[in-house]
Amino acid sequence: MQIKPVLVALKKHRLATLLIALEIALACAVLCNAVFMIASRLSAMQLVSGVDESSLGFIQLGGFDPKSAHDLNARVVAGLGAIPGVQAVRVINSVPFGPAAGAFGVTLDQAGKQFRGVPELYLGAPGTPEALGLKLVAGRMPGAEDYQTVLEGYLPANSNVLVTRVFAEHLWPGEDALGKTFWTGRNQFRVIGVVAQLSVQQYDEEGERGAQWTVFVPVQPGPQLAGTYLVRADPRELDRVMVDARTALAKIAPDAVVDHQQSDTLPALRTRFFQADRALTGMLVGVIVSLLGVTALGIVGLASFWVAQRRKQIGIRRAIGATRGDILRYFQTENFLIVTFGIALGMLLAFVLNALLMKFYELPHLPLYYLPLGAIALWVLGQLAVLGPALRAARVPPVVATRTA
């Protein structure tokens, strides 16, 4: 296929060619950046909680008198435990994707000089790590003696705690965390076990807190820890169990109000937590589809137009020996050239756009492999879009040449 005659013909339609190329360039730039954003949303939604989500539910009660906390806890644990299908009920302050319940700044020393960020604390009654399904990678789970009664404030003065592998590595890079201590205010923590994963309650990507910056503090429930419960059931029965639990609570705890927003299964809480990300992804997919659709329509429109305009020339070429394939390839080559021109411009544009976004919005760098991917997508789109008009052109009979316009 000779490229020169195609280029000469394009020169006669400089402006239209330029506009389509510009459109493709814009599409390329927007496409690369939008796909990159979708990819980053999707990877954010893969957040690993480290607990047996499909088996777990969370109940939050409010409006009760703190003085009746002990009594309430006892009633709820016994009452919910009696629901058929419930495997465990534990008092816990919150769960991953549940309400934010306790973020504490921690230091490596008692004087509070070596600040190491603000992890989230999980407080739970005996049996909670087992009910959550935490995976221990080093050390031991808290034993019965580790669950202390809190006399004042929110935390015991000295506790034996579990930390996640990621947070242990953050506190003591490259060292064995077992037996090490850290502090929050006047409260001391000693690491007795390291768990594989346990994500924070409400992870904020743009915040300073890592997704796995958590500490599990074993405590006995009491006034400082009441009204919030972890329910474990068989995954197949979880939905029914949670419905039953909410109905049962009216009888078990008439003095408290069920927070229906927060009291749900973990899969439901997770879905809700990522709702905005999903919506954004959906919106971006919509934008990309419209974008590709409009670009394809533009190519189809222009190509059809050119085919109609050049019927006579096509007829002449056919009459002097060009095959249908030659005509088809002519339009395909033409499209390829325009798209290539557009892509070249578009890659530059995508890069500039990303650089600007990085500068103003602290967005990560667009990985370079997105550019060839975007280019291939647009080449394929261009070839598909031009196929219809090009086939129509190939069907123009040679006899057209003999007719007057």
Binding site: A111, S290, V294
Partner: protein
């Protein structure tokens, strides 16, 4: 003459219905897709108090020193009790308020009803005029109420509905944490998103409403603890809420109204002077490192609007741009073929202006049709946003009429410009030559 051009344009468009439909659809979809996403993204990145955000400022005081600063050298994003009360006492801005989040229980008058937990803020009286908070009944409290630690409260219309059946409850009493407070004001619907006065605690967006506002010092005296974030760089020396007040822990939000550049400069100098005083008094062992950010800068600094959202806005605009370029290209291709037609009209005596009028009419029809289609699709799009978006965001998404009109205008003007160029080219050529060449 216009009617004739309209007729001509419609005939011409009818001759290539496919291409016409393509152009109209391209504009319509472009307008609709970009406007729908714009309305959603704007909802979450919008200015919560556009008429005043430039006058509202958030001061930050470095009471932690170099070790407590963020990576970019910023001081803590909240204040400790000492600094917050000092700034209130000095009262250097026209209006200002320190505030902290509370979550007290309210005991309804009827014994049969259970106490309810509500959330709200402890603020100074100037909070209400500063933020133009709308009142259904009554008003905020006075400076003397603040000073005298008066037992007064401002409640939301929702809580008013629950406790008093929606009647005017000003002067009635509410039991909060087992003490009686006199209602001085009932808010009209007020739930600004993002919750700009205390973004550190709300994370910006919070679908729950704020039900009670108590005088700051009254709440402190009544021992109603902070329900929001508390950050400490060192262990409070005394336990409990009193210990928190005497510590360097930060847990108080602060906002000040500064009406002009001079007031901002004066306030900046005041903060500098305050920090220097603290340095001289030995409390700070470092040079002043204050910040004074306007509300929009503060929201940006606290990443209230995820950067992805802002970028999506650009993506939506990119789509509109692509659609416009697309339509211009198609119109160009269509019009550039019409030189023979123009030649005939010119030969028959039509002046250039008549040619322009005819083609601009045709291009204008495409633009208007596309615009109207876009308008309808945008309405449908915004109405169906609730299906895909979270409720608290979808409820914020509304059509920005002025912006929509602007987009329509852009669409029509762009198509007309697209019509202009080929007409210009065609009308430059000698009519006789065009006729011959055919």
């Amino acid at each position: 003459m216009f009617a004739y051009y309209l007729d001509l344009a419609l005939r011409s468009l009818k001759r290539s219905p496919g291409l016409t439909a393509l152009m109209v659809l391209a504009i319509g979809f472009g307008v609709a897709a970009s406007m729908t996403s714009w309305s959603v993204f704007r909802a979450v990145s919008g200015d919560p108090i556009p008429w005043k955000s430039a006058q509202l400022f958030v001061p930050q005081i470095d009471n932690w020193g170099p070790n407590g600063r963020s990576a970019d050298g910023d001081p803590p994003n909240a204040m400790d009790y000492t600094d917050a009360t000092a700034l209130m006492r000095d009262h250097r801005a026209r209006l200002q308020s320190a505030m902290y989040q509370i979550s007290p229980s309210v005991v309804p008058a009827e014994a049969s009803k259970h106490p309810i937990n509500v959330s709200g803020h402890a603020v100074f009286g100037e909070f209400f005029p500063m933020l133009d908070v709308p009142f259904l009944y009554g008003s905020g409290w006075s400076a003397s109420d603040d000073a005298n630690r008066a037992q007064v409260v401002v409640i939301s219309s929702k809580l008013n509905e629950k406790l008093f059946g929606g009647t005017n409850s000003v002067g009635k009493s509410v039991n909060i944490e087992r003490a009686d407070y006199r209602v001085v004001g009932v808010l009209d619907n007020w739930n600004p998103q993002p919750r700009f006065y205390d973004v550190v605690n709300s994370g910006g967006f919070d679908s729950g409403t704020e039900d009670v506002f108590l005088p700051f010092q009254t709440a402190i005296q009544a021992n109603i603890p902070n329900d929001g974030n508390t950050n400490c760089n060192a262990v409070p020396k005394e336990p409990g809420f009193a210990g928190l007040q005497h510590s360097e822990c930060v847990w108080i939000a602060f906002m000040a109204e500064l009406d002009d550049a001079a007031a901002v400069t004066t306030y900046r100098d005041y903060l500098q002077g305050y920090a220097r005083e603290q340095q001289q008094a030995g409390r700070f062992a470092w040079a002043p490192n204050n910040r004074l950010r306007s509300l929009p800068e503060w929201l940006d600094n606290q990443h209230v609007v995820p950067s992805d959202t802002k970028v999506s806005l650009l993506v939506a605009l990119g789509l509109l741009l692509v659609c416009l370029v697309n339509t211009i290209g198609l119109l160009l291709a269509k019009f550039l073929r019409r030189s023979s037609e123009i030649g005939v009209r010119r030969a028959l005596g039509a002046p250039r202006s008549a040619i322009y009028a005819q083609f601009l009419t045709e291009a204008g029809i495409v633009g208007v049709a596309g615009g109207v289609l876009g308008l309808l699709l945008t309405c449908a799009g915004v109405a169906s946003v609730g299906w895909v978006m979270p409720k608290d965001i979808a409820s914020l998404a509304r059509l920005d009429v002025s912006l929509l009109l602007l987009t329509l205008l852009v669409a029509v003007v762009a198509t007309m410009l697209a019509g202009l160029y080929p007409t210009y080219r065609a009308s430059r050529v000698q009519p006789a030559w065009q006729l011959k060449s055919n």
